[in-house]
C-alpha cells in the first residue's frame, strides 16, 4: 500500500497546489510537507515486498529506495528554493506530478510501463519550461521533439528483449536491441551525439527547471538502463552494449568538456558541464567492474548535488544582478554571498577540481579504467579541464562592471541553503565514503556485475 502512496500522493497533491498558486507560501508548505512525508514513507517501506497495481508488480529494492529518498530530498530543496526565488507558477505542481510518475517508473517491474510513465513525466516537464518570463519557442520544441523520438526506441527495446527470450538464436534481435537501446537512452541522457537539446533547454528555461531535468530525470533514466542490463544478462555477455556505453561516454565527456570552455551563457555552460559529467558516468558504467559502476553511481549522486547548487546560485544571481553581471567580487559577495560561493564551488567541483566531491568519484572512475588505457584517461582529464576553465572564464565575464544593480541582498534562507550545499560538496569530497559505501553495497547485488 505504501508503494502505491508514493505514486498517487504527489500526483493528487499537485492539483490543490496548482490552485493554491496565488497563496504561494501555503502551496510551498503543502508541497514541502508532502515530500517530507513521502521521504518518511519511503524509508519505512519494506524492501523487496511487492505491491500490485492493475496486475503489475511494484517493488522497492535497495537501489530504488535509495534513489527515491535522494530524489525526494532534492525536490524538497528545490521547493524551498522556489519559495524564495519563484520559478514560475507551474514549477511546484509540475515537480510533484513528475515525482509521482517517476516513483512509479522506478518501482514498477514491467519495463514497458516504466518507459511510458517516464514519457509522461518528461511531458509534464514542458509546463516548467516557461518560468516567470516565457522561454523562446525553440527551447520547448527542442526538448519535446527528441523526447518523443526516444521513447519509441525504448518501447521497442522492451519488445525486442522479450522476443530474444523466445528466439535466442536470432542474432539480428541482439543487433536491433543494442541500436534501439543506445538511441533511446542516448537521447534521454543527452549523450553525444544526441546532446544538443539539453543546452537549449538550460539556456531558455528557469535554472531550477533545468536542474530538475538533470538532477531528477537523468538518474531515473540511468536506473532504468541499469534495470535493463540487470534483467537481461545476455546483453552484457553476448552483445557489445557495454563497449557502446563506454565509447559513447568518452565521446560525450570529451565533446561536452571542450564545448563547455567555449560557452558564454551560464545556463549552457551548466548544461555542457552536466553532459560532460554524464560522459564520466557512462564510461564508469560501460567499464562494467564493481569499482567503476560504484564510481559511476556515486558520481550521479554528486553530479545532482552540484547541478542543484549551481542552478540555485545562478537563479539567485540572475534575480539579484541584472544580466548576471556584478561590479566587483567584493560587491557581489556583500549582496549575494551564498550564490557567488555556490557558483565557484559548483563550477570547480563539476569539473573535477580536487578536494570537492566531483573529484572524489571521478577518481574512482579513473582508477577503474584498464591500466594501459591512456586514451581514456587523457580524454577524461581534458574534459574536466575544459569544464573548470569554462567556469573560471565565466566568472571573470560575470565580474564586468554593470550600472544596474538591485539594492536588495539575497534572502537569508537562500544564502544558508547554498552555503550548506557547498559545504556538503566539500564534506563529500573529503569523506567520499559517505556516498560510496552505501552505493557499493547496492552495486554488489547487481546481477550484471556479479555475472561479470
Amino acid at each position: 500500500m505504501s508503494l502505491i502512496l508514493l505514486i498517487f500522493v504527489p500526483l493528487t497533491v499537485a492539483v490543490p497546489v496548482y490552485f493554491l498558486r496565488r497563496h504561494w507560501s501555503a502551496a510551498v508548505f503543502v508541497s514541502l510537507a508532502t515530500t517530507l512525508i513521502l521521504i518518511g514513507v519511503c524509508s519505512q517501506a519494506p524492501l523487496g515486498e511487492p505491491a500490485y497495481i492493475l496486475g503489475r508488480e511494484l517493488v522497492l529494492d535497495e537501489l530504488s529506495g535509495f534513489l527515491l529518498i535522494f530524489l525526494l530530498s532534492l525536490a524538497s530543496l528545490m521547493i524551498l528554493y522556489a519559495w524564495q526565488i519563484p520559478q514560475g507558477w507551474a514549477f511546484i505542481p509540475s515537480l510533484l506530478a513528475i515525482l509521482g510518475l517517476l516513483s512509479g517508473a522506478i518501482m514498477i517491474r514491467t519495463f514497458l510501463i516504466a518507459v511510458l510513465l517516464l514519457e509522461m513525466a518528461a511531458l509534464v516537464f514542458v509546463f516548467m519550461i516557461h518560468g516567470r518570463r516565457p522561454a523562446p519557442v525553440g527551447t520547448a520544441i527542442g526538448y519535446v521533439v527528441p523526447l518523443v523520438m526516444a521513447i519509441p526506441c525504448l518501447l521497442l527495446v522492451s519488445w525486442l528483449t522479450e522476443s530474444y527470450a523466445l528466439h535466442p538464436d536470432n542474432l539480428l534481435l541482439i543487433r536491433f536491441t543494442v541500436i534501439a537501446l543506445s538511441a533511446g537512452f542516448g537521447i534521454l541522457l543527452a549523450a553525444a551525439p544526441f546532446h544538443s537539446w539539453l543546452p537549449t533547454v538550460a539556456e531558455g528555461a528557469p535554472f531550477a527547471a533545468s536542474a530538475s531535468l538533470i538532477c531528477i530525470f537523468n538518474p531515473v533514466v540511468l536506473a532504468l538502463l541499469l534495470g535493463v542490463l540487470n534483467s537481461h544478462l545476455w546483453l552484457t555477455t553476448g552483445s557489445p552494449v557495454l563497449l557502446v556505453i563506454s565509447t559513447s561516454g568518452l565521446l560525450t565527456a570529451l565533446v561536452a568538456g571542450v564545448l563547455a570552455f567555449a560557452q558564454r551563457d551560464p545556463g549552457r555552460l551548466m548544461a555542457y558541464a552536466a553532459i560532460s559529467d554524464m560522459g564520466f558516468v557512462l564510461v564508469g558504467l560501460g567499464t562494467g567492474s564493481l569499482t567503476s559502476t560504484t564510481g559511476a553511481l556515486a558520481h550521479i549522486v554528486n553530479r545532482s548535488l552540484l547541478v542543484l547548487l549551481l542552478a540555485m546560485s545562478l537563479g539567485t544571481l540572475r534575480t539579484y544582478h541584472k544580466d548576471g553581471s556584478v561590479s566587483t567580487l567584493r560587491e557581489a559577495l556583500r549582496r549575494t554571498p551564498g550564490s557567488i560561493v555556490g557558483y565557484i564551488v559548483g563550477g570547480l567541483a563539476l569539473g573535477g577540481f580536487p578536494l570537492f566531491n566531483g573529484f572524489a568519484t571521478r577518481w574512482l572512475v579513473y582508477r577503474s579504467l584498464p591500466g594501459d588505457n591512456l586514451l581514456y584517461s587523457g580524454a577524461l582529464l581534458l574534459a574536466g579541464a575544459g569544464v573548470v576553465l569554462g567556469y573560471v572564464r565565466s566568472l571573470s565575464l560575470m565580474l564586468q562592471p554593470s550600472p544596474e544593480l538591485k539594492a536588495e541582498r539575497e534572502p537569508l534562507l537562500v544564502t544558508v541553503m547554498t552555503l550548506s550545499l557547498a559545504a556538503l560538496c566539500l564534506l563529500l569530497g573529503l569523506a567520499p565514503g559517505l556516498v560510496v559505501d552505501p552505493i557499493l553495497k547496492i552495486v554488489q547485488e547487481m546481477a550484471f556485475i556479479a555475472g561479470g
Binding site: L54, G55, R56, L112, I113, L116, L117, E119, M120, L123, V124, V126, F127, H130, P134, A135, V137, A140, I141, V144, V145, V148, M149, I151, P152, L155, W159
Partner: protein, 223 residues
C-alpha cells in the same frame, strides 16, 4: 460507447486499401496545408482510420480507445487553436488592417507547396517500398506501410514547421505511426490506456506551448 461501437463496426467494412488511401490523404493534408482547421480535421480522420486499421489485428474495444483518445486530443487542440485565432498572427497582434476579409489562398497553401507535395510523394514511395520489402510484422493489412508512412510524414512535418501547433501535429502523427506498429506487438488494455494518456499529455503540452507563443507575439506586437 455502444453507438460509437456500432458506427465503428459499420465503418470496418472498408478494405485495407481504402484505409491506406485515406491515411495517404490525411497525412498529406497535415504536411502540405498551413491551415490549422483543415489539418485538425485531417488529424481526427487519421485517428479514426488508424483505429479501423488496428481493429483488424487487436480487440475492438482496445481499438475504440484510440478513437476516443484521438477525439479528446482533437477537442483539446481545437479549443487551443480557437483561442489563438487559428494562428493568424495579424489578429493576435491586433493588426486587423493587415488581414484580408476572408482567408486567402496563401493562408491555406504554404509558399513551398510543391516542395511539400514532392516530399509527401517521396515519403509515400519510400514507405510503400520499405513496408513491402522490410515489413516490421507479418500482418498482411498494410500495417508496416502505414507505420512507415505516418512516422515519415510526422518527422517531415516536425522538420518543416516552425510553429508549436504544427510541430505538435507532426509529433502526434509520428506517435500514431509508432502506435500502429506497437499495437500489433502489445495488445494489452493497460498499455493502450497508458499510450492514450501519453497522447493527451502531448496535446496538453502542445496547447501550453502554442498559448505561450501567443503571449510572446502579443508582447512583441505591443512594442
Amino acid at each position: 460507447m455502444d453507438v460509437l461501437q456500432d458506427i465503428f463496426v459499420s465503418l470496418s467494412s472498408l478494405s485495407h486499401l481504402e484505409l491506406m488511401l485515406g491515411l495517404l490523404i490525411t497525412a498529406t493534408v497535415i504536411i502540405v496545408l498551413e491551415d490549422w482547421r483543415l489539418s485538425l480535421w485531417a488529424l481526427l480522420a487519421q485517428y479514426v482510420l488508424v483505429s479501423l486499421l488496428l481493429a483488424r489485428v487487436m480487440p475492438l474495444r482496445v481499438a475504440l480507445i484510440k478513437v476516443i483518445v484521438g477525439g479528446m486530443v482533437c477537442v483539446i487542440l481545437y479549443l487551443t487553436a480557437r483561442r489563438v485565432h487559428w494562428g493568424r498572427e495579424a489578429i493576435i497582434k491586433g493588426a486587423y488592417h493587415e488581414l484580408a476579409p476572408v482567408a486567402t489562398v496563401l493562408d491555406i497553401f504554404p509558399m513551398n507547396l510543391w516542395f511539400r507535395l514532392l516530399l509527401a510523394l517521396l515519403a509515400a514511395v519510400v514507405s510503400y517500398a520499405l513496408g513491402t520489402r522490410h515489413p516490421f510484422v507479418d500482418h498482411p493489412h498494410g500495417i508496416s506501410q502505414a507505420c512507415y508512412w505516418l512516422v515519415g510524414i510526422g518527422l517531415l512535418t516536425v522538420i518543416l514547421s516552425r510553429h508549436p501547433f504544427k510541430v505538435g501535429l507532426g509529433l502526434l502523427t509520428f506517435q500514431a505511426g509508432f502506435e500502429v506498429l506497437f499495437a500489433t506487438l502489445e495488445k494489452s488494455l493497460s498499455v493502450a490506456a497508458l499510450l492514450g494518456v501519453v497522447n493527451i499529455l502531448m496535446a496538453l503540452a502542445i496547447t501550453y506551448l502554442t498559448t505561450a507563443q501567443l503571449t510572446v507575439i502579443v508582447k512583441e506586437g505591443r512594442r
